[in-house]
């Protein structure tokens, strides 16, 4: 079913890869050039992503579109199979959108190391941007892969560049001397890598198991998602309950680490805290999404029964993540760690939505991935600008910034409001959908999760109050410069997007809905029906036909 048209998906991934090589190839002296090259490629990738988004037809038949399929490693039953559904398109667009901003925001993050080392061969700047592009390429590929093995390859491989990004580049704001800071960074990076590697290797066992099963029952082992799904549907492939559950757990563990889900979250605060804020954005807004995305695409579709079997536990864990993350966020003294814990809480919402197994839940979860990406990016990048000005991550070192840098404070507030999902901003839509979706099947869990929105307000407003309001902390704060043009260029579009998607998310929902319906049909779940029959179907009384007599009767 490979259509022989232009291989869009491959190009979308190849472009940043090429960019990475090009950037890395530039000599040490051409630092600025490297930055521009990287930016150029990332923007081009975004353009390509847009092309994909437009070429994609939400109404079309079949789960995947723009598919490419080539033989690769026959012995492993691996094919180079790419394809996108609405969810993938949305997330690819998100990734491609964020990377240019990440690059712009990190414009000077890799310069500092330069002076320290007058070494012709050591080229941190080139490395920094090349690595970012490499990550982008791998992330995009893992969104596109419809072959489990292919997905696994990039799911794992992207750890390496991430690892170097975390461990190699700091924001010099840890308050410790460079040596100790480097040590902390290194340990954070190692923690990140080991957690995810362990998860990945467990998953590898499951992947191999999957191959063994398919090879055993279908004659030839295969990793093609569609093939397996169809085989299961047609009954050619039947997993024993025990096997299915083991395999599911193997997959889910890896994704839960990546997502991250309580109690596998402890790598995230370190990684996000120690790395520069653009990298932190890369982690939480882009890379971690692969985990939640994979739950939707692989966990649910490959192992429907096991998924529903595990749902209760997972929902509880997600619930814990929501409250736990929020509570810990409240207690943080470090801005970036606070945002990290906030993200943990948000990932709790996403996973909650995914496993609520309702169209609202999963649709909301997908929207949540996108919106959380944008909102966290906005908040984290502004925080990064702030930190880079003062050279400290500690909340206690700030206060009254609003007086010195009103723009910065304003954008920071908007980012914060998005994080606490204020209606009118994008995250509200997704969060509410997740809550409704959960509530309609698991009312109690839904209600408890709702408490999360109060806690969210708490940590955001506390952060804002302590950093931005009150009398300026000291002369250094009083002298803080406001946002520069480059920084405005980064934040402005993000905020605009938050507003737009908050008011008019329809393009996104139209994109996502069919994919979600397909997933649900694979999992074989329907939305629960309302108890009370309402003859008036929602939205039927559009176009200004009078509503008064409803009210009149209602009041009698």
């Amino acid at each position: 079913m490979a259509d022989l048209s232009f291989p869009l998906l491959t190009c979308a991934a190849a472009l940043p890869a090429v960019g990475a090589v090009a950037t890395a190839a530039l000599p040490a002296a051409r630092r600025t050039a490297a930055k521009w090259v990287a930016l150029l490629f990332s923007v081009a990738t975004f353009a390509l992503a847009l092309v994909i988004a437009f070429r994609f037809d939400p109404g079309a038949k079949g789960p995947f579109q723009l598919t490419e399929s080539h033989a690769w490693i026959a012995d492993f039953g691996v094919r180079y199979e790419l394809g996108v559904d609405g969810i993938a398109v949305a997330l690819i667009a998100l990734t491609a959108l964020l990377i240019p901003f990440v690059i712009l925001a990190g414009w000077h993050d890799a310069d500092t190391l330069e002076e320290a080392r007058p070494n012709r061969r050591w080229r941190p700047t080139q490395g920094f941007f090349a690595l970012i592009l490499a990550v982008e390429a791998m992330v995009i590929l893992s969104f596109e892969a419809t072959d489990v093995f292919l997905f696994y390859l990039f799911f794992e491989a992207m750890l390496i560049p991430m690892y170097f990004l975390i461990g190699g580049f700091g924001d010099g704001a840890s308050g410790a001397d460079e040596g100790e800071a480097a040590a902390r960074r290194a340990s954070a990076a190692v923690k990140f890598l080991l957690y995810n590697l362990a998860g990945g290797l467990i998953m590898l066992a499951a992947v191999i198991g999957l191959y063994a099963v398919t090879a055993d029952q279908l004659g030839t082992g295969t990793f093609s998602l569609q093939q397996i799904v169809q085989a299961r549907a047609s009954g050619h492939l039947t997993l024993g309950t025990g096997t299915e559950r083991l395999l599911f757990l193997g997959f889910f563990f890896a994704f839960a680490v990546k997502a991250p889900l309580w109690p596998l979250h402890t790598w995230l605060p370190g990684a996000m805290g120690e790395s520069t804020s653009p990298v932190a954005v890369l982690i939480t807004a882009v890379v971690d999404k692969v985990g939640t995305f994979a739950m939707l695409r692989f966990c649910l579709q490959l192992f429907p029964q096991a998924s529903s079997w595990a749902t209760p536990v997972i929902l509880v864990l997600a619930l814990i993540s929501i409250l736990y993350g929020a509570l810990l966020a409240v207690a943080q003294r470090d801005i970036k760690r606070l945002i990290a814990y906030a993200s943990i809480s948000h990932f709790g919402f996403i996973i909650l939505g995914i496993f609520a197994m309702t169209s609202q839940g999963q649709g909301g979860a997908t929207l949540y991935m996108v919106n959380h990406g944008i909102s966290t990016a906005a908040l984290m990048l502004v925080a990064g600008f702030l930190i880079s000005r003062r050279g400290s991550r500690l909340i206690a070192d700030y206060g009254g910034v609003q007086k010195a840098a009103p723009l910065l404070a304003g954008t920071f507030l908007v980012g914060g409001l998005a994080t606490l999902s204020l209606p009118g901003l994008a995250p509200f839509v997704s969060e509410f959908l997740v809550l409704v979706g959960t509530f309609s099947r698991y009312p109690v869990i839904g209600i408890i999760a709702t408490v999360g929105i109060v806690l969210a307000a708490l940590y955001v407003l506390v952060l804002y109050q302590r950093t931005m309001t009150g009398p300026p902390k000291d002369d250094e704060v009083r002298a803080l410069p406001d946002l520069r043009v480059r920084e405005l260029v980064v934040v402005g579009p993000l905020i605009a997007l938050l507003l737009f998607l908050g008011v008019y998310p329809k393009p996104l929902t139209d994109l996502v809905n069919p994919a979600v319906d397909h997933t649900l049909s694979v999992v074989d779940k329907q939305d629960p029906k309302p108890e009370v029959r309402v003859d008036a179907v929602p939205g039927h009384h559009r176009a200004g036909h009078p509503a008064h007599h409803h009210d009149a009767e209602a009041a009698k």
């Binding site: 209600i447 109060v454 108890e531 008036a536 179907v537 509503a547 009698k556």
Partner: protein, 630 residues
């Protein structure tokens, strides 16, 4: 005609966008742009109003569908507006009072370098509030609901350099969020129960929900009540309103007196059908209302800060409205009517207070006032009229609306009726007392301020004109509304009307009202009019001291929520480090230790290596043999 509805919201929204993103170049003209757009919105409202009057009573509701907002599966939310008599009333109140207060602020904020942003926030508030009352479904209402919350957050904390202001703002937002939880849960329940959350179908089905739905409906109603409590500062979520007075006075007048805080009343009235179908919930509503109206009144008596005193009174007045709304069809209309009149006179009172502060170098302690009537006559007169209105002096607005509510309360019948009516009467008496107290301490008696430092003076026109207009409203609105129940009938298509009959005729209740009113005034005059007011507050009775501290509500919050919360989070942080993270690092450490142990085997001596090999061989052989069982 319905296409104008969007314009109502658009005008102030555009203003907000302009002023907040406009940058410095708008600093000089910004406030006028803001005011202009507010007035424009009011003009549109007026046009719509006249049009509405022009049409038959049962054909007055308008509906405008802009676009589909969130379509996911069965979940379908529209961006659509509904303008019926209820909404219209609010729209007029909001835009009208709003415009006036914009005008007032021009003068009041004249010397603030961030005035542009202030007007931006005000416009933002107008837009959100209008969205709240115009939405045709609960989710969109929720957007406005939180929107006004945001605006109030921004405006309370407008003077961010004051830590107290920032704290107050945060508190207001958080307490409101608690209420919002109620609203969002209510919406979820609506969705799962009715499959929709648009007003029309839901309210249709509410009555016919039947026994199956009743439990659900009650739950929904209670959740809506929770939301109302948050927004309208009703017990137990009232604690934020007092602190909210940290904001500039026009804000207190507009948001925390006239409009936003009455959103809860709107919500309950709008959802009348649901409440009617859930008697239990209604009882809860009236209970909350009654408690709050007393609570607020008591607090109001003890405050020396003029704005906080007025805040207490606001709380109590909204208590009246909530109670009325809880009474069902016999109360809805009067609740709204009191809401409107209250909008006039309370706004007027606040503006008066603002004007006083303006002349007294932002002094808020009434014990530093005294004998100001000579120095600021206009303020004195307008404030005085507002005062007469609020205590319900016969013939003025407050009298008509409040009296009706008390009637309705008695009309509820039975002991419940007596309790509610009694509470209402008592409240009226206390209101008379504390308002008289405010009046006396501010404008009468000898001056308690130092003439060398402060030079009381009348405020500029931009400030006095709105006060005068509002004063007119406070005097005549009630009377106009009551001319053969014009207001009630105007609302009837929306809220419906049921005439309650108090056990003892209307005249009796009216008389009672007047009597308690006089008692209240008299006591106040005895305490503050006859003898001089001490410049520093006396220790006062236990009740007084408690009342000064909002009846210990905040102390409770502090001990239970704040401290408890801090403990909780701190423990969690420790656990996260030791337990969750420790588990992982623990395994790593164990591995290291194990490694160190095994390393010992590699001791460098050939012979020990050989020995281990022999051992290995032995095991190998042994196991092989065992496997075969030889």
């Amino acid at each position: 005609m319905e296409n104008l509805i969007a314009l109502l919201i658009a005008a102030p929204l555009v203003g907000a966008a302009l002023l907040l993103c406009g940058g410095k170049r708008l600093d000089r003209t910004g406030h006028w742009i803001g005011t202009l757009l507010a007035v424009a919105s009011f003009a549109v409202a007026a046009v719509l109003f006249t049009d509405m009057l022009g049409r038959a009573t049962d054909d007055r509701a308008l509906h405008q569908h802009l676009f589909t907002w969130i379509p996911v599966g069965g979940f379908h939310a529209d961006i659509a507006f509904q303008l019926d008599q209820l909404s219209m009333t609010f729209v007029l109140l909001i835009t009208g009072v709003g415009s006036l207060i914009h005008l007032y602020s021009v003068g009041y904020m004249a010397h603030d370098e961030r005035r542009r942003r202030f007007f931006g926030y005000l416009n933002l508030f107008l837009a959100a509030m209008l969205l709240l009352v115009l939405a045709d479904n609960y989710l969109l209402l929720y957007v406005g609901w939180e929107g006004v919350g945001l605006a109030s957050y921004l405006l309370i904390g407008f003077w961010q350099h004051k830590p107290s202001a920032a704290t107050a703002a945060k508190k207001a937002f958080l307490v409101n969020r608690v209420g919002d939880v109620g609203l969002s849960i209510a919406i979820m329940l609506l969705f799962t129960t009715f499959g929709t959350f648009a007003f029309a179908p839901v309210l249709d089905a509410a009555g016919t929900a039947g026994s199956a739905g009743e439990g659900k409906v009650t739950a929904i109603a209670l959740m809506l009540l929770l939301a109302a409590c948050g927004k309208s500062a009703q017990v137990p979520l009232q604690s934020w309103l007092g602190d909210a007075m940290e904001g500039p006075t026009p804000v207190s007048a507009l948001i925390h007196a006239a409009t936003m805080v009455t959103a809860g009343v709107y919500l309950i009235t709008r959802s009348g059908a649901l409440f009617d179908a859930a008697p239990a919930a209604q009882t809860a509503v009236v209970a909350v209302g009654a408690v709050t109206l007393l609570f607020g009144a008591i607090v109001g008596c003890a405050k020396d800060d003029i704005k906080k005193a007025l805040a207490g009174s606001t709380m109590s007045q909204i208590g009246y409205m909530i109670m009325a709304a809880g009474l069902g069809p016999i109360g809805y209309a009067f609740a709204i009517m009191h809401l409107v009149t209250h909008g006039f006179f309370k706004a007027g009172l606040f503006l008066g207070a603002g004007s006083v502060m303006h002349g007294m170098n932002d002094e808020v302690d009434m014990r530093r006032y005294g004998g100001l009537r000579k120095h600021m006559p206009v303020t004195f007169i307008t404030f005085g009229l507002g005062y007469l209105a609020i205590i319900g002096f016969p013939g003025l607005s407050g009298f008509f609306s409040k009296d009706k509510i008390i009637e309705a309360a008695f009309a509820k019948g039975g002991t419940e009726g007596l309790i509610l009516g009694g509470a209402a009467l008592l409240g009226a008496a206390i209101t008379a007392f504390y308002m008289t107290r405010v009046m006396l301490m501010t404008f009468f008696g000898e001056k308690r301020w130092d003439p060398d430092e402060v030079h009381p003076h009348e405020s500029p026109k931009t400030m006095t004109i709105p006060m005068i207009v509002l004063a007119f409203g406070s005097v005549f609105a009630g009377g106009l509304f009551s001319i053969n129940e014009a207001f009630v009938h105007w609302l009837e298509p929306v809220t419906s009307l049921a005439h309650g009959h108090p056990p003892f005729g209307a005249t009796v209740t009216t008389a009672a009202t007047v009597v308690v009113l006089l008692i209240g005034v008299a006591t106040a005059w005895l305490m503050y009019g006859r003898r001089p007011v001490p410049a520093t507050a006396p220790r006062g009775s236990v009740l007084t001291r408690a009342a000064r501290r909002d009846l210990l509500q905040d102390d409770f919050n502090h001990v239970v929520l704040v401290r408890g919360g801090t403990h909780l989070t701190d423990t969690l942080v420790r656990l996260d480090h030791t337990l969750v993270d420790g588990a992982v690092t623990g395994t790593a450490v164990t591995m290291g230790g194990l490694s160190g142990l095994l390393r010992r085997l590699q001791n460098g001596f050939v012979r020990s290596y050989a020995a281990q090999m022999v051992g290995g061989a032995a095991v190998l052989v042994a196991v092989t043999l065992l496997m075969r069982g030889v």
